[in-house]
């Protein structure tokens, strides 16, 4: 545990002093992430049209469960790669935007979560809540981060 803390702490220190060693994926993984996310859409469609969830017999790794795993893994991995791929020039301003976007995404996510918890009292809804929380923080982060970068580029003054 102590070693793990040390490792995290070291990562933190490196982040502050050297922008190159930030723990982010290479830039090209953004497109891979986008591809994975797009691939998951038809899989979801198959799930819905063939009523695969009706095959659920409560067993682990049955057809319904496998489809669930595939869709969730594709979607979350896709969003994760989009969210945490390095910008072409990842400098300290981008790092700052990244952090503040992450903060807003978490704020918004918990607001949505609390509202959802207040207005649900049905057991079945909790599964939807879990699903919502799988993608909501990442998607919110991506949208806010891209919006901030767009705003930054718009605000540039001519030389």
């Amino acid at each position: 545990m102590l070693d793990f803390c040390k490792l995290c702490f070291t990562f933190g220190l490196i982040n502050l002093t050297d922008m190159k060693s930030q723990f982010l994926f290479p830039t090209w993984t953004r497109w891979l992430g986008l591809a994975l996310f797009l691939v998951h859409l038809p899989v979801i469609h198959i799930w819905d049209t063939y009523h695969i969830h009706s095959y659920d017999d409560g067993q682990l790794f049955n057809l319904s469960h496998l489809f669930f795993i595939i869709t969730v893994v594709l979607m979350v991995l896709g969003l994760f790669l989009i969210a945490f791929s390095r910008e072409r020039i990842e400098d300290e301003q981008i790092y700052q935007l990244r952090l503040s976007s992450l903060r807003w995404a978490i704020f918004a996510n918990y607001l949505i979560l609390i509202i959802c918890l207040i207005f649900t009292n049905n057991k079945a809804d909790y599964k939807d809540l879990l699903r919502l929380n799988l993608w909501a923080p990442l998607l919110l982060f991506i949208i806010i981060f891209r919006w901030k970068i767009y705003r930054l580029n718009r605000s540039l003054k001519p030389e």
């Binding site: 002093t17 020039i89 400098d91 300290e92 301003q93 540039l156 003054k157």
Partner: protein
């Protein structure tokens, strides 16, 4: 905090993009520093000062409100 980055750049006759490349940041960052919208870290300020071969205080100046 204000800065004389634009003037120093004019003296040295380099563009924002060239300065950005010299210190390894994006042109956007140089642009926002020049228009006082972004305060660079100490490391970045020192790197900029090194490019212009001047002390940091000559390029970045504290204002009364700071």
């Amino acid at each position: 905090m204000k800065n004389s980055l634009r003037v120093e750049r004019a003296i040295k006759n380099i563009t924002q993009a060239e300065l950005a490349e010299l210190i390894g940041v994006s042109r956007q960052t140089i642009n926002t520093i020049e228009s006082n919208k972004y305060v660079p870290s100490t490391v970045l300020a020192l790197k900029i000062a090194r490019v212009f071969e001047k002390p940091v205080e000559q390029i970045f100046i504290l204002e009364d409100g700071d």
